[in-house]
Symmetry: C2
Subunit: 450 residues, 2 copies
């Protein structure tokens, strides 16, 4: 039980892209938005009141693709080319321990909560540790073991289901079936995962068509492009499928995605930083009705988990690719809110501020100098192009204040500094090591117990 | 006279890209860095001490291309295509008053100072107002009237010189000869401006090869590409020339720029947001020894003046264009520090932390959660890829603290809110107006008097 929260007399309320008003108040009760209006209703005695006259309320952002514990590897070897970079990452990852993943995940969760992200979909080692870190802060998360390498496809998928079930006791946390990719996991695992995802209502989250090399090798090996392969041979495209990157998706593959009702997660910053080039065809996907989500990817290839910066990056990269401005602030807001929420299979209403929707929202300082001047007519632009994420005053998930700048920032800063010392000691021990092969995920790690 | 400042026992000191140390102290006296070492020298009685154990010291960033008072137009009509966008901008700009430019410039100066920018090179209306705003905060600035439209070329350049001289009384402020472009100013003005720049030691700052349309029209009209035209017909390339954008520069033009010793300012975010496409060939320019600077462009086309975000954008866009990682964090740091300083003709040493150099530096919170974990080996990556600019604790220009987060932020926030109300009233009066022609700059506005 969380106490009711009344946010009073907001300077600006953005309910969803295209619907903005001023002077509104919002009542949050039992994890939901129960009332929005101009005359606040009487609040129960235990209610908490936030004065909204210098605040902007906006829907929460959801990060639909992360390897969040890679905060550990933020700024480590990140000016190398992809293949060399991966070898340095893998060498360190072979030494990962649950404790390091827990600490790195907590650092990630603090970054997300403080920059207005209410939930994330994660793919990394020791997902139980990341689940606990997210739950300790109150964030939503969708996570699970990574299926990759030489594993028994059937057992690996079974384990993912088992893991998802073990998350039941953690509030707002759920499972996802994570398959690394068609090139790093057995193809049978892709097929089983897609079917299990559909049966259990879990997202099936997979990297696909990230590089031209991957596309070339799929074509050479199977005679099909990666998304084609998933659709035509693996029977692995359905409305639970979440395709990450798709920077080299072919035009004829777009229809396959649309027909299946699958989602695509765009990760523009990571794609640019790792120089994968390509073009994620946002406009054509949106036109065909594909659900487009947004993610930062891991902090080793971004190097942030900041969805405000990612929204801007989406518009910038798309405009650069199309040579016109057909992709607008609104598209990025949609991808980062309802688009990601849908890909992650979050409860209906997540990503909008409406009566009856889950009480996920972000309250932003309307008087922060760096986003001035703010107005009702420029609020979408302001959030996408000017905001750095640091303007967030409160992040509220399911009616609970998970971040209150005044209450949390200094405390989190001290905690982050302690974590950082641990992470640095760990990195320094293995710095410079290279490994030509990825670590084998401990797929059969004990399931989560509380 | 400013009192000496001792920054003691720094967690990390980045003197310049590639040279980093720990535990150092820095003494600033009379506007210069007079001592760097491990054992702090005795400080005069009046000196101010900053404890550096949770701080990173880095060279200041300089923003080599701004229209800073366009904070007024931040978030105004910015999802339009370029030509339509310009018509909305121009309509509002026709109503500009000195007071509005002063307020908008002050808002810009607060943004720059608080995000670690020590100086900027500006092109906008009423430059005297912007000069005073910069001086009131203690920033370095290079600014002057805009030569554009149907003006007498000789008189316009003379006036720019006159204006530059009138700035003498303002500390750290200097002139620049601003010519809008080869298509929006008389060609004779470009020639006169380049010659006057050389004679008076002032930068000559001009937009060039920003769009393919500009390149096409120059070729059609003059038989030459824009930079070729400047070099071969206008005699307008010399070491004081600063070419802004150059997204459509041709390979054979690079040699002309290199031979002349001219500088180029890269504005990646603005180019992407306005969908000008093209490719600013950073690698080839650096290889040929061209001085590469970095700028945000105006906050109506970015929409920030944040050089930390711009450094990241430079690497991202370049990697996306080259399909490899040849452009690294270090190149962006160099462009934003010594590159911009050289283009702006700032005093020798600006952009590095060395004994004898001007005391321009930025002190960053080494324990900010969003940039953890920081180490001596990842500090360049951290500053370029992870920092949002909000980690800045102090910005010091010529030995004076122009921004101290603890001292200034709340005060500036209140001031910015008052300015924003004024700017919004102004915008609301003219919202929706369109003008097919640019406003005529008041080239003969009274020169600056203090």
């Amino acid at each position: 039980m969380t106490e009711p929260i009344l946010v009073k007399n907001l300077r600006i309320l953005l309910r969803r892209p295209g619907r903005v008003e001023t002077g509104a108040s919002i009542l949050l009760e039992d994890g939901r938005i129960t009332w929005i209006g101009e005359q606040p209703p009487p609040l129960s005695k235990t209610g908490y009141v936030i004065e909204g006259d210098t605040l902007i309320a906006a829907p929460c952002l959801y990060n639909a693709h992360t390897h969040s514990a890679m905060t550990l590897l933020r700024g480590y070897c990140d000016d190398y080319e992809l293949s060399e970079w991966l070898q340095y990452m893998w060498a360190v990852e072979k030494h990962l321990t649950p404790r390091i993943v827990r600490e790195a995940s907590l650092l990630a969760a603090m970054e997300m909560a403080s920059t207005g992200t209410c939930g994330f979909m994660d793919m990394y080692f020791y997902p139980g540790e990341t689940a606990r870190a997210a739950a300790s802060l109150g964030l939503r998360a969708r996570l699970g073991p990574v299926i990759m390498g030489d594993v028994d496809p059937y057992k690996a998928v079974e384990h993912s289901i088992y893991f998802a079930k073990s998350l039941k006791g953690l509030k707002n946390i759920g499972g996802v079936i994570n398959v690394h990719s068609i090139y790093a996991a057995p193809l049978d695992a892709v097929t089983y995962a897609a079917e299990a995802a559909r049966q259990h209502g879990l997202p099936m989250h997979i990297h696909v068509s990230e590089t031209r090399r991957e596309v070339y090798e799929a074509k050479k090996k199977y005679g099909l492009f990666p998304v084609e392969l998933m659709a035509k041979k693996l029977n692995a495209l359905n409305k639970y499928t979440v395709l990450v990157h798709a920077g080299w998706i072919a035009s004829w593959e777009i229809n396959l995605v649309a027909e299946a009702g699958a989602s695509i997660v765009h990760c523009p910053t990571s794609n640019m930083k790792l120089a994968t080039a390509g073009h994620m065809p946002a406009y054509e996907l949106i036109e065909k009705g594909v659900n487009l989500a947004l993610g930062t990817d891991g902090p080793a290839s971004n190097n942030t988990l900041n969805m405000f910066l990612e929204m801007k990056q989406m518009v910038l990269l798309q405009r650069h690719s199309y040579w016109d401005t057909r992709i607008k602030a609104r598209h990025a807001l949609q991808a980062a809110t309802t688009g990601s929420a849908r890909a992650m299979k979050l409860p209906r209403g997540c990503g909008t501020i409406e009566e009856g929707a889950p009480a996920d929202l972000v309250l932003i300082d309307a008087e922060d100098p760096l986003i001035q001047p703010t107005r009702i007519d420029n609020i979408e632009s302001t959030l996408v192009y000017a905001a750095t994420g640091r303007e967030v005053r409160y992040t509220i998930v399911a009616g609970k204040i998970v971040y209150d700048r005044q209450r949390d920032w200094e405390r989190w800063r001290r905690r982050a500094a302690i974590i950082a010392r641990d992470l640095n000691r760990f990195i320094e021990r293995y710095a410079g090591e290279k490994s030509p092969t990825p670590p084998t995920p401990r797929t059969y790690e004990p399931p989560l117990t509380q």
